[in-house]
Symmetry: none
Subunit: 207 residues, 2 copies
DNA sequence: CCTGCATTCACCCCAACGGGTGATTTTTAT
DNA sequence: ATAAAAATCACCCGTTGGGGTGAATGCAGG
C-alpha cells in the first residue's frame, strides 16, 4: 500500500507547511502545495494527487469552492474543505459541491488525518460500485447472519440481474436449489424480493 | 425545511449535554441522548433521527462501531464518529463501517455542525430518488427514442425497486397502464426485464 | 381537419418469482 | 464418531412480471 498523495491548497504558508509536515510524518505524501487557485489548477494538471485539502477562504479571486467544482468536473478526486470561518451561505455552497470532509480551524491534527483517510477510502469505495467492490467480508459485516460461500456467489449473480434459471445454469445446480439459496438470502438480508436485495446491496456499498 | 433530528450516543454526560445544547441552538433537534449501546438501540427503535453522532469509545460492552454496524444493517442512517483517541486498528475498523464523518476531540463546535450538515445532505443526495445526477435530458441522450415524462417518472420508480402495483398506486393509474409504459420502456432501453432496465440505468449514470 | 403522440386501460397467456414444507447428501468442526 | 452447518433437490401454490394484441381518449401542430 503506497502512500496517498495529497495536494494542499492553502494561502496561509504557515498552515500549509504545518499540514505538509504532519502529513509527511503520517504515511501521506504531499504531492504539492498551492497558495492560490492558479497554482491549484496547475498542480492538478501536472501532479496526480489522490486527494485534495482545500481552504475555502482563499485571498485570491477564486474561492476554494470554485476549485472544488473544477475538481468535480475535471478530475473526480476526493477533497476536504478546511476553513477558519464559514457563514451560512458559504456552508450552503460548500455542501453543494459535495466535499468528502469538512474541517474547521483550529483543528486537531488527528481530525485531519482521520478525515483524509476516510475520505479516500470512501471515495475509492464509491468508485467501485460493481461487484468487484463488494467482498464477502465487507458484506458480512453488515449482516446478522453471515453469508455462506455459495450464497455470496449467488447474491452476486442476482445483483447482476440474472434470473434464477440463468443462475442455475451458470452454477450447475437446479433452479430449485437456487430458489432455496435465495430464500435464505432473503431471510438474512431482511428482503422480500430480489429487487430489495439489490437495493440493500447498493446502499451498503455506497456507504 | 424542518430541523434535522439528531441522536447523540456519548457516555460522557458533560460532553453529551454540551453537544445537545449546541445543536439545539443551531437549527438541529436532539431526538435523544443515549449513554450506552442498549439505550442507543432503544432510541433508534423508538425515535426516528435523521443522523447519529457516535462516540467510538464507549465504556460499555459495545463500542460505537458495533452500533454503527447496527445502524447500517437496520436503519441506513448517516452517522459521524466522535472520539478522543483512535489507534490504527480502531481507525481501520471505523473506516470499514463507512462513517459519514469523523471528528476528534477536542473539536471545534463548528466542525461538528458542518460535518453533520454535510453528512446529512450527502446522505440525502445518495438516497435521493434513486437516480443521483440523472436528469431526463441526460438519460435521453443515451436513447434512440426519448422517454416521455410519464415514462421517466415510472422508470425512476422502477429503479427504486417498486413493483408494478406499488407504482400504480403511487401514480394513480391502473396496473395495466404501468405494464404498458414498462413495455415501451423495455423497447426504448432494449431491455427484457426490469432488472436489465435498472442495470442499464446504473451503467448510464456512471458515464 | 386530422395525424401523430402520449396516456390510459383491458384481456389473454405463460414464464418467473416467492413462500411453505420437507428431505437427502456432503462438508466441516468438535 | 458425531453433531452442526452447508448444499442439494422436489413439489405445491398463489402472485407478479412480461409479451402480444387491441383500443379509447385527449392534445398539439401542420
Amino acid at each position: 500500500m503506497s502512500r496517498h498523495k495529497i495536494l494542499i491548497v492553502e494561502d496561509e504558508p504557515v498552515i500549509a507547511e504545518n499540514i505538509s509536515l504532519y502529513l509527511d510524518n503520517n504515511d501521506f505524501e504531499v504531492s504539492g502545495i498551492a497558495y492560490d487557485a492558479a497554482e491549484a489548477f496547475d498542480q492538478l494538471k501536472t501532479n496526480t494527487p489522490d486527494a485534495v485539502i482545500l481552504d475555502i477562504n482563499l485571498e485570491s479571486d477564486h474561492s476554494g469552492i470554485d476549485i472544488a467544482q473544477h475538481i468535480n468536473q475535471r478530475y473526480q478526486l476526493p477533497f476536504i474543505f478546511l476553513t477558519s470561518y464559514a457563514d451560512k451561505n458559504t456552508l450552503e455552497r460548500a455542501k453543494q459541491v459535495k466535499p468528502d470532509g469538512y474541517i474547521v480551524k483550529p483543528f486537531n491534527e488527528r481530525t485531519l488525518l482521520a478525515s483524509l483517510e476516510i475520505a479516500i477510502s470512501n471515495y475509492a469505495e464509491r468508485k467501485n460500485h460493481g461487484l468487484p467492490g463488494l467482498s464477502m467480508d465487507k458484506l458480512n459485516r453488515y449482516l446478522h447472519t453471515p453469508f455462506s460461500d455459495r450464497e455470496f456467489e449467488i447474491v452476486c449473480l442476482v445483483y447482476q440481474g440474472m434470473t434464477n434459471s440463468q443462475i442455475a445454469e451458470m452454477v450447475f445446480i437446479s433452479q430449485n436449489t437456487v430458489k432455496t439459496h435465495l430464500k435464505n438470502i432473503h431471510l438474512k438480508m431482511d428482503a422480500n424480493t430480489r429487487l430489495e436485495v439489490i437495493n440493500n446491496l447498493r446502499n451498503l456499498m455506497l456507504k
